[in-house]
Subunit: 333 residues, 2 copies
Amino acid sequence: MDQISTAAKPHDELAMLLSEEMRAVDTLIRARMVSKNAPRIPEVTAHLIEAGGKRLRPLLTLASASLCGYDGPFHVHLAATVEFIHTATLLHDDVVDESAQRRGRPTANLMWDNKSSVLVGDYLFSRAFQLMVETGSFRVLDILANASATIAEGEVLQLTAAQDLRTDQEIYLQVVRGKTAALFAAATEVGGVIAKAPPAHINALREYGDALGISFQIVDDLLDYGGSSANLGKNTGDDFRERKLTLPLIKAIAQADETERKFWSRVIEDGHQQDGDLEQAMELMRHHGALEATRDDAVFWAERAKSAISQLPETRLRNLMIDLADYVVSRVS
Amino acid sequence: MDQISTAAKPHDELAMLLSEEMRAVDTLIRARMVSKNAPRIPEVTAHLIEAGGKRLRPLLTLASASLCGYDGPFHVHLAATVEFIHTATLLHDDVVDESAQRRGRPTANLMWDNKSSVLVGDYLFSRAFQLMVETGSFRVLDILANASATIAEGEVLQLTAAQDLRTDQEIYLQVVRGKTAALFAAATEVGGVIAKAPPAHINALREYGDALGISFQIVDDLLDYGGSSANLGKNTGDDFRERKLTLPLIKAIAQADETERKFWSRVIEDGHQQDGDLEQAMELMRHHGALEATRDDAVFWAERAKSAISQLPETRLRNLMIDLADYVVSRVS
């Protein structure tokens, strides 16, 4: 443990500190994604679960529980639960967004088909449900049931808000809470609940997860336009092409004059995009300071996350969770 | 109540006997499918939930609970739960099967789009989850979590078994348990559990639901070929065209000679269907007695359902549940 470099990323440090628990989570995930009757299930999920990603949500659950003095075994179940829910929403998202890439590999949707993505997603939801029932905590079930409803509502709201120029910052925040922050908040809150932490600490953990999730998603949406420095790479502008009203766009549209509104109406509402439109959109965002303002919002939420978690007693884990909030916004600094 | 005609269908009689509870279920369903943030949700679900269908599953839950002497309030929650789960699976089924009609109306899939069907289905699952948490019974949660996993596994298994001539009666039974019987069995079992019925009665209720569900699905699959009398109407042969290996087909294929196997291989595995193939398939099923044998299986399961429920004390409700099993197979007599 003494060997951890101070330059390591906070989630990598968290993963090292919690490596034993994370191995238990991996083992549980592998054991539970098996289906004797339907071998296609592990085939589809392996491709997502092995790819791994950062395993950020299970890490947050383990860290929250450990931070509150819990040493097992149900934080492992809950960490696997949130990863299953996350993977299931990715699978369902693949179907609906017709996105071609996820975590750098072809989506399950393309490798298999829409049917498998929907049904295997449902299977993972039901497996998550079984895992949380095993914890024997009604409060945990209540939190995760409410989070599931918020996630689904947020996804539907995103659908109806897309391509609609009336989408404002308030609607954006609701969508972000649904698609990202609800599961972050549940992941940290259930960690505190399973540890039987005092109410103030549980609230602080929930607030941390919520604010971190919002900050995380705002940063993601900003990076789609190359970050606040607006460096367009080959993967930028996807949201623009899909006519998604994310925060940078919403902020620019809010300040649009007559001519600019006609432009936004053509490219977003009507979807008549041509060469140079993305550059024009970027120019308008720069002109109105929309990218910097979006970055400021991300920093605001990261600060809120830090302030919430600071209410808990100082430990190495707590400090890494503070560092994590800083790290999230450092991607756009 | 004295006015009920003895010629009424058993589920209509059950609905009349339990009309007060059924109204409470309807009220609860309407209250819980609302979404303040995402108005599209009730728009999509109304189309399925108002169309109504027979509301067979919630009726079974209410009947099972009442039969065991329970008078509320959580059988209403559980009845709404099973209807939400059922509606959610229909929505996800619409996406995956590209079916054009459901309950005589255009599917949500066509009226809206794949995205809405997937996400609104997810929303209903989460609403079902919230409702069952409210019952405060871990045993109920455990039963419904396991049923959800069996449903999803069965749907995936159906996917991989489709168009595969090796699909046998054992695999068919697993698929049927997943797509139909698991929710029927959970619907009746949780009725007994919430009523704190003795273990033998709860087991009998579960067995009844399981066997009734299997019988129900076999009849459905037989009706797709016009029933045991094989009267082809305009809606028959859908499963054949979709190359689904249901029981009548499986029984005919099991007895196929060399020439017949080539036929099945062409129309089911390769999907090269032409005019006259459905008639040829019907002829082979008739020749091998596959339709009558399928009907016999449906009757076998209906008898098993009756024998299970007969273990409970005789009441009007119990006798209607026996009648219901007879009614299910009367559709193909």
